[in-house]
């Protein structure tokens, strides 16, 4: 658990963060979002003591970080940044195990962890002896994520890690990160200014503006129950209706009955897909209803366009 209590920080007279209180539960995927300059990165960098707050306290795992050795603290928290910052003079393998080496783990343990992290993040073993400059941007960031996870920290901080990537790699890495979070149950604090990224990844969103926390809550609350006009315009904009569909899974509104005789030619859809995907599939196939299948591929129900309209 990470507890940020009444924290303020200013740089040269300009307030970067003002009186911010936020609690991030274990296993949460917390996205800090807001316009540039809102102080989200500063909050992130205060959690691993890279920036010391002027006022307030931050407790990580119940302990005030001001009383801890900052290097020791940082080695227990994963860290990945937008520009990746891989060590150019080290091989990919050496980059990944940088923190385990700092922690002086025994070599067999480092080796075992390297294999585990590569499997988790999806890194081709052929990359291990290469150097960072021989990799693509997407590969580099994948190594950056692996390096952040290498010492198996229960908390990982990520500062716009995918912002510099091209859309396909960005989408791929977002999917990987979502899967990694689900598989490992780590607490991830993720800074971004990309709304789709936030809604696609977060279990908890904290929206900041000019150093202050405007609203924090589940993605659904942010979109459906905005605290004020700023939140509404930030999460809504021209596509607010579609964004709402993003937040509801097909499984929540589908009917468990079949229309007899029409099953064969209806397009199929996974139960965990969003209503937005369902609508998109209907538009693509020019039809008004779909078959819903569960993870095993068994048909479990149907969804009609009327169900979507009702839920939105």
């Amino acid at each position: 658990m990470i507890e940020i209590e009444a924290v303020s920080k200013s740089f040269g007279g300009t307030a970067a963060v003002s009186d911010l209180t936020l609690t991030i539960a274990d296993g949460a995927f917390c996205v800090l979002i807001g316009p540039s300059g809102c102080g989200k990165s500063t909050v992130l960098r205060m959690i691993n003591a890279m920036i010391a707050p002027d006022a307030g306290t931050i407790r990580v795992r119940g302990q005030d970080i001001a009383a801890q050795n900052p290097e020791h603290l940082r080695r227990q928290i994963g860290y990945a940044i937008q520009s990746v910052g891989l060590f150019p003079h080290w091989t990919v393998a050496a980059n990944i195990v940088a923190v385990p080496r700092l922690l002086r783990w025994a070599e067999p343990r480092i080796k075992a962890r390297l294999d585990a992290v590569m499997a988790l993040v999806g890194i081709d073993p052929a990359l291990l002896p290469r150097y960072p400059h021989q990799l693509s941007g997407g590969q580099q960031q994948r190594i950056g994520v692996a390096r952040a996870l290498a010492a198996d920290p229960d908390i990982v901080l990520m500062d716009e890690p995918f912002a510099a990537l091209d859309p396909p790699s960005r989408l791929a890495l977002r999917g990987e990160l979502s899967r990694i979070h689900a598989e490992t149950g780590k607490t991830i604090i993720f800074v971004t200014h990309d709304l789709d990224e936030a809604l696609g990844l977060a279990t908890q969103i904290a929206l900041m503006r000019q150093g202050r926390l405007v609203q924090a809550g589940a993605p659904r609350d942010m979109v459906l129950a905005p605290a004020d006009d700023f939140v509404r315009s930030f999460f809504g904009g021209p596509q607010i209706a579609l964004r709402r569909l993003d937040l509801v899974a097909v499984a929540q509104v589908m009917k468990q009955v079949m229309k007899p005789g029409e099953r064969a030619d209806a397009p199929e859809l996974a139960a965990q897909a969003s209503l937005r995907t369902a609508l998109d599939t209907m538009l693509a196939h020019r039809c008004t209803w779909l078959c819903v299948k569960d993870a095993t591929g068994r048909v479990v129900g149907t969804i009609e366009i009327a169900d979507i309209l009702q839920a939105s």
Binding site: A98, Q134, G144
Partner: protein
């Protein structure tokens, strides 16, 4: 009848070298003979040497010209190097043999100096070697073997006594005992300069990284120092140092005085600081901030960031700075002889004073050779440091 086809030129550099060698051989004097040190001499052409000697020189030059139109291959490169080696060896042998014949005919005072033709031919042979060494694709052992073969040939010819009649050799033999001392002294001056300049640079780098504001004044002062002519700087240090030694006997007891090595090392250090400091500041500034930032975020301490990240990434720039400074100091240390610091420069100034150009060469040639050799060593180290991963 088919029109005759001109051969295609694959290596223009080699062709230029060949043309230059032909021109030097035919238009300039190979050796100069003078009845004594002061009298001006007569130029003698290469053809006065035994025909077996100059024949091989001419053959080597023609071979270089022909090799310029051969498609580059490992064999072509080896043959080019062999031709250059032959040119080098038989220039020396021709000069030695011609000098021996002339000396036999003259008196003890007769001076036989190497002429412009000799130096040009020798320079061309060495340029072909340098071209070979710096050519991409050549491996380190092959480069070392090429340089070593030239050194070995020179030493063999010199040891055989074939060059003894040249007045350069006679000056060198006359200075033999002093030469070793001067060489050691020269090396010692360079080493002492670096031993002071490198730690001072490290300290300055550390200070300037902490106090950004001191940067521009420090660099201004060091740039200003670079503009002072070396002779003037050596001279300027004499007065304050003599006074210092007079007032503080403890310093005088340590060997500090207005003349001698102390002011020389101080002046050489002052000249060394700017390139060294510039190299180290650039080296550290070029370490990407994202790399330092992520190292800190992952839990690297300040010391670990320095040793594991900053220093290894800055190292090529640091070594480049050291390379410039070492070569520069080897040359500048010659001037230190003027204020009694000794070293190879003492032959240069003695030679100028006595109007004995061969004596000047006894000092100058080793300085050039040591500087070039040191530079090659540094180039090799740098190539290794920057090796493609």
């Amino acid at each position: 009848m088919l029109p005759a086809r001109l051969p295609r030129i694959h290596n223009r550099v080699l062709l230029v070298f060949c043309a230059g060698a032909a021109l030097a051989m035919t238009t300039t004097g190979f050796l100069t003979r003078a009845p004594n040190r002061l009298a001006s001499g007569i130029s003698l052409p290469l053809w006065d040497a035994p025909a077996s000697d100059w024949g091989i020189v001419v053959a080597a030059i023609i071979a270089l010209g022909l090799l310029a139109s051969v498609r580059p291959s490992r064999a072509q490169q080896s043959l080019t190097l062999l031709a250059a080696l032959l040119l080098f060896a038989f220039c020396l042998i021709a000069a030695g043999d011609l000098a021996r014949d002339l000396a036999a005919a003259g008196t003890r005072a007769t001076r036989i100096s190497l002429g412009p033709g000799f130096w040009l031919l020798l320079a061309i042979a060495l340029l072909v070697l340098l071209d070979h060494v710096q050519r991409a694709g050549s491996t380190l052992p092959r480069r070392a073997a090429a340089v070593a073969s030239f050194c070995a040939v020179f030493l063999l010819i010199a040891a055989s006594g074939r060059l003894d009649a040249l007045s350069l050799s006679r000056e060198w033999v006359a200075q033999r005992l002093m030469f070793d001392d001067a060489l050691l002294r020269h090396a010692w001056l360079v080493a002492a300069t670096l031993a002071f300049a490198v730690p001072i640079t490290m300290l300055l780098t550390l200070l300037l990284r902490t106090y950004e504001r001191a940067r521009s004044p420090v660099f201004s002062v060091l740039s200003l120092l670079q503009t002072i002519p070396s002779i003037a700087l050596f001279g300027l240090l004499i007065a304050p140092l003599s006074r210092l030694a007079a007032f503080v006997p403890a310093l005088a007891a340590l060997g500090i005085s207005g003349t001698g090595p102390t002011p020389a090392i101080i002046a050489l250090c002052l000249y060394a600081l700017l390139p060294l400091l510039r190299g180290s500041m650039t080296g550290f500034a070029e370490v990407p901030s994202a790399v330092k930032e992520s190292a800190r975020g992952l839990g690297f301490g300040a010391r670990e960031i320095f040793w594991k990240v900053e220093l290894p990434l800055a190292l090529p720039a640091l070594v480049s700075g050291l390379r410039i400074v070492t070569v520069q100091t080897i040359g500048l240390a010659a001037v230190a002889a003027l204020i009694g610091a000794g070293g190879l420069g003492s032959f240069v100034f003695e030679g100028i004073g006595e109007y004995a150009l061969d004596l000047v060469l006894v000092g100058a040639l080793p300085i050039v050779l040591i500087a070039v050799g040191t530079d090659l060593v540094f180039q090799t180290i740098l190539a290794w440091l920057r090796r493609p991963a």
